[in-house]
Symmetry: C3
Subunit: 409 residues, 3 copies
């Protein structure tokens, strides 16, 4: 038996609460309860909690503490939210949800399937339309994000901090998180996380070691977002790439994508290839200098998933066929002393006015930025240059993730 | 003759004002006036200003400027707050306060006596219960804290910044304050303070020189909190330690405390010993490797205050007797080239499962963090491991101090 | 034909919108529309938009996007603001503005004429009276400023960030912006600006290269403020200097100004001399050690503008004649290995109690800070020591500029 509920009362100025509900069978539901500002009464909106007959096990996203919640009208006093359930009714249909997934942490691109991606993108679209000082722009008011960066990455950090602040949240910043665990002091990552989770509601972490984000998430009682861990994952970049394709081309099935440049070392293109395999009838072209060709593991993976792929040395021809030309930077630091190899690779495939002229009208050029001269400046003026819009999409994706992790759908 | 007052009007959205009142005899009172949001009328809450018959000399915490305030109904226009006194009545009892002390700066542990500690802890307890987006969470709205760090201390800085933001305040951050007074430029600390006080309402300062906080406070017209100055003081750490003992054990009189580890160099344990001397019937056990034994000055001080103490080499026995086992890190940097002495000292007293098993059920393990291996990870799971709760208590103590310094009781 | 308009509706909590209007002749107008909170209806205040008969081309300051706006009652949905025009009337006089100038960016002192300075100073005066948590203190609520510092300048950064937060705005901070364009990655300034403008509403930039601010402003679709670019400009310092003279002396025409110290290298005194030439009957005295005398270009410029100037070696005499004694620091770093020349220049002209005693009662001492010993500490106590008030004025000038650039007059 499943019930729905309506809430009222609540602390002054409360506008939004998020809760998880577990029913007696152990199923989890997530709900967002919004207040109507006029009546000062909480009305259920967007989606609601379903729960078992008398007891709701609610976990509030802000602090990860579990709270017992007596459903038949008694008050409950949470750590962070104070409400009372005014009435409960048995209900089975319209209010029952459960079809939405649970987003606990963002650790790696592999955790997302097609449905989840689609759901996140829907929220990102809403984010694009949030107006300054509107209700939506205050959805994370009172929430505190810690940006725990073990190595500086100004671009990524500013994007996350902007996302948090655009939603009314606040930020604690550190770009010298290494000091926490300096050689001299030797604190473990786990201990650092246990300290920082006491100060904040969500942790955005950049680390120099692969797997660090997973360790942090395993320790933290609050959500963790991986903002890049060593050579490993940078899942928000992967999400914003796919989101940009959908926004620019209008679909993800049936697309033709040219991946150009450093395909051996770029985690961006590797993650993108991985995520594209979730869609129907995708064809991928690899265009890379010999020394930085796409590695076999991804090729084999694509083949196993039935994704068609092809290597090419002719950028012009690929450009003419593709919906997306995804250019990447040849990373000098990967070549060590072999500057000669770097210089050779670097000049080989440039996206310029000629490439543009070969491209179809609806096609776009993408790039994860920063760029050097692998896309010439003259391309910027063309409406098909999508890379700055792509960077901006990173903001919307991060807004969406912060909202989903902190207050749910 | 003392009067009470009620206020109304006030600038749009005003919710909280703090004022000092001086009566004709020159006595100072501090009050917090809260608005009721419903009536838009200011009601006196928590504590109020008493003042002399016709004239209130009000100092607003945010800017330190003195304002004349005509009490019989005339408007007054402050620098920061705009109100008018609607009515005044003569009153002697319930509204008259003055029994609360004046907290101007937080410079050193020695400034606090037992009553003040108790009062601060009471406010810290309230802080534990502040709910997201509640009235209490906005108590420092509009206030600006400058974190002026002459050396980085990410842990302390994040704790203060979280405290400020949890109360609705804003933060200006600098971890490279040394640049202000670089060798090349040579600005004095006093000049820096005079500049920064123009930008903010309160200064939280970390400095590499002992006594710097006292100098800053002597210069500043706004409150200063010492977040550690050189080998000298770190008073908020001392406060949070005592607060944690009270929260965990339920009392401060009649406790048995084992101080373990580096007792010679750790300013933490030295301050703690100092503060514990203010309580009745405290017994302290020192358990330290030979090279880092507690120094005579503290032992003599305790003796002079009638505090019983004892040195021991048997951690198991001490653990079985104590309410608190306060472990500390052996600081490698203190040993210079004598790595051999460091290694010997370091491994000597470890808190592990065996020590836990000797401890009483109600006793707890504390540690100022970061820890290395002087507490083994297996201890973390035991409910008596209080060190992460202790770190969190630092947040509440700092919230309490910020509130007290900026808007008063 | 020009029309006025009234607006209503608008997103919940909207309090302030700013718009540019273009009439059919291509003229631009800027307006600020404030809501009355009581009626929840937008009323035109301060200044309004005029516009052509049926079509208003509105650009919102926050994002730089152009929006078509149908004036006869139809909705329009902006990127950042959502309103509908309820009624339009033909109108020619009281609402028509256009007499206010358009402030797009703040790049160099030369961009300001006397009228603009006067208008900015008027706004700065308003800023001095903004009360904590008042309506005015929320005028930039929802706006996000990026401080993009390619070299650290804590003093300037904190001043800007304080200004933004005092007006209710939020800040994204970076003091290591060089990382964006590190040698290894090689991103252009233009690309960095295009990325950062996606995250923020205004950019405050400090750069190590002269001309960088101009390049940034040419690229950005949002306002840029130059917070110092190399040996070039630092226009907000120049503005706050002139503002301080007006505040302290009460006028800018007919003043006598002594510029003392390093006149060869200090961009401050050079900019100040430049701006003072815009006023009537100004006389400037140069008092500098031989090695750092004022250069001919400024002297020639002043002569060409009819500004009287004179060189002197007698600080006491100059002090007795001047309204302002503007002291500056001899910058050691300019002398390279010639420490002897530095030491000689440095001790030559000190403002001390003797100089004070020669000064007139209404005259003041200014200094851009930081100071070393070119003003002795004993001077600080004298009410004529204006340098800390001058630093504080920097806050008000920056508040004024942020307001003007983001929401207009």
């Amino acid at each position: 038996m499943v019930s729905s509920l309506s809430l009222s009362g609540c602390a002054l100025r409360r506008e939004l609460v998020g809760a998880n509900a577990t029913d007696i069978d152990g199923k989890f539901y997530r709900g967002v309860l919004c207040s109507s500002r006029v009546s000062k009464q909480f009305l259920v909106s967007r989606s609601v909690c379903s729960f078992s007959d008398r007891v709701l096990q609610a976990r509030f996203f802000s602090n990860g503490k579990s709270l017992r919640w007596d459903c038949d009208g008694n008050r409950f006093l949470g750590n962070g939210v104070h409400c009372c359930a005014l009435s409960t009714e048995n209900h089975n249909s319209s209010f029952a949800i459960g079809q939405k997934f649970q987003l606990e942490d963002v650790i790696e691109a592999q955790q997302f399937d097609r449905d989840i991606l689609s759901a996140i993108f829907e929220v990102a679209r809403e984010m694009e339309n949030i107006e300054k000082n509107s209700f939506g722009s205050q959805v994370l008011k009172g929430y505190l994000m810690a940006t725990l960066f073990y190595e500086p990455s100004t671009r990524t950090r500013l994007s996350f901090e902007s996302a948090m602040k655009r939603l009314g949240g606040e930020v604690l910043t550190t770009e010298n998180a290494r000091e926490f665990s300096s050689a001299a002091k030797g604190e473990t990552l786990e201990d650092t996380i246990r300290t920082v989770e006491g100060y904040s509601d969500i942790i955005v972490m950049r680390h120099f070691e692969g797997g660090a984000a997973k360790r942090a998430a395993a320790t933290a009682g609050i959500p963790v977002i991986n903002a890049g861990d060593g050579p490993g994952q940078h899942p928000t970049q992967a999400l914003l790439d796919v989101y940009t394709i959908e926004r620019e081309i209008g679909r993800l099935d049936g697309i033709r994508v040219g991946l150009v440049g450093d395909l051996a070392n770029g985690r961006t293109v590797r993650s993108l290839a991985y995520l594209l395999s979730k869609y129907q009838d995708v064809k991928i072209y690899f265009v890379a200098p010999e020394v930085v060709k796409m590695k076999d593991d991804i090729k084999d993976y694509l083949t196993s998933k039935g994704v068609e792929w092809e290597e090419s040395v002719d950028l012009m021809e690929v450009a003419s066929k593709c919906d997306i030309v995804y250019q990447t930077r040849i990373q000098k630091e990967r070549f060590g002393e072999r500057i000669d190899l770097y210089e050779e690779a670097r000049g080989k495939y440039i996206v310029d006015r000629n490439v543009l002229s070969a491209m179809q009208k609806h096609a776009v050029v993408m790039h994860p930025l920063p760029r050097l001269d692998e896309i010439t400046v003259e391309v910027d003026e063309d409406p098909r240059a999508a890379y700055f819009r792509q960077a901006k999409n990173g903001l919307y994706i991060r807004m969406a993730l912060l909202k989903l992790l902190l207050v749910g759908w």
